[in-house]
Symmetry: C2
Subunit: 211 residues, 2 copies
């Protein structure tokens, strides 16, 4: 006879991979909000439905959990970028593609931006560097370089331009709770319409700024 859980109480799943992932998901949320040091394992556990003992069982301690979250995020982002094959595109198309891709990724999961920014603010990029940042900016840098060399883009400091383009794309999403008062009360800055407007604005401004 099958073992039945008490009424109202969720039966333990006993699925290692599922539990591990749900902890990672919950931790991503928590870390994206308050960073490594502000995060509470208790609060992460509460989001998952398992107890905090499980966090130590799977990740040993909070710091390791944080590393795992960062690694998962960065790996996904890099795979995303690789799939673009920007080298096969004209400089203008390549820049557009990278900007679109960055925006899509950060809008679909705003935690990406928050986590990386908190990492810079709180840990001086310690955990970010370990997995080599450069590659996340590489495609944009290379595309801008090509465009400047071919004369398609105006001359300028490639790396500063790169940082500024990323900042333009990212800021709206991560600072949205401060910015929201600039729009009529109740506007959802992450709604489809608002995001589309942001994407349009970023693309237009980026291309105008580099041409």
């Amino acid at each position: 006879m099958e073992k039945i859980a008490k009424p109202g109480v969720k039966a333990p799943t006993r699925d290692a991979e599922a539990t591990r992932n749900s902890i990672l998901d919950a931790a991503e949320q928590e870390f994206a909000k308050v960073g490594l040091w502000g995060a509470r394992t208790e609060s992460i556990a509460a989001r998952t439905g398992v107890t905090k003992a499980m966090i130590h069982y799977y990740f040993e301690n909070k710091e390791n959990l944080y590393k795992a979250v960062m690694e998962r995020l960065i790996a996904k982002r890099r795979a995303d970028l690789d799939s673009l094959c920007v080298d096969d595109l004209s400089p203008t198309d390549a820049v557009s593609a990278v900007v679109r891709n960055l925006l899509a990724s950060i809008i679909q999961n705003p935690n990406v931006g928050s986590l990386m920014l908190l990492e810079a603010l709180q840990n001086e990029g310690r955990y970010y560097m370990e997995t080599s940042v450069g590659s996340l900016y590489g495609p944009l840098i290379e595309s801008l370089k090509r465009g400047m060399q071919s004369g398609e883009f105006a001359q300028g400091d490639v790396v500063h331009v790169t940082a500024n383009v990323v900042g333009m794309c990212v800021f709206y999403v991560i600072a949205r709770d401060n910015l929201k008062s600039l729009w009529p009360e109740g506007t959802d800055l992450l709604s489809n319409e608002m995001c589309q407007a942001h994407i349009d604005s970023c693309l237009k401004m980026t291309l105008a700024a580099i041409k």
Copy 2:
């Protein structure tokens, strides 16, 4: 006979205003790094040289201290902006002036950017709104509007453009610890030369993007 402090031990200053300000300064540093919830009063006290009991004496609790820090910062920023009198300038000059002013302010004290961003991430802008954000973006918004109406600037969504310009200026400073790997090892992103390059890049890109 004058009372002498024990050798090696600093004599208590007993200057209320000075103590209060030094607590605010230290708190600004700490909050800018880890935000309201990550901050430790002990750590704030350690930076000041007074004990944490003083924090409660002057501000009652950590939350009030945080509010005081935010208010001081925003008041300063607003005064800064008011002194520009952007309405007396042409749209182009006005935008340049605001951008220069924003950059100067955030470079001189990077805590401004960090604090406001952490506020958005961690508190949904709760403590920021209280002191009415809109006025900090007002001058830039109005200048852009004027420029678009006069035909000096291209048409576009004024508020999105505003947010994007601010993001472009701010991101470099607050995310510098992540970005630093894009430059040769050891480069100080807040050095005079690097800041000047950032300012140049922002001004050039902003004006190109809105024209």
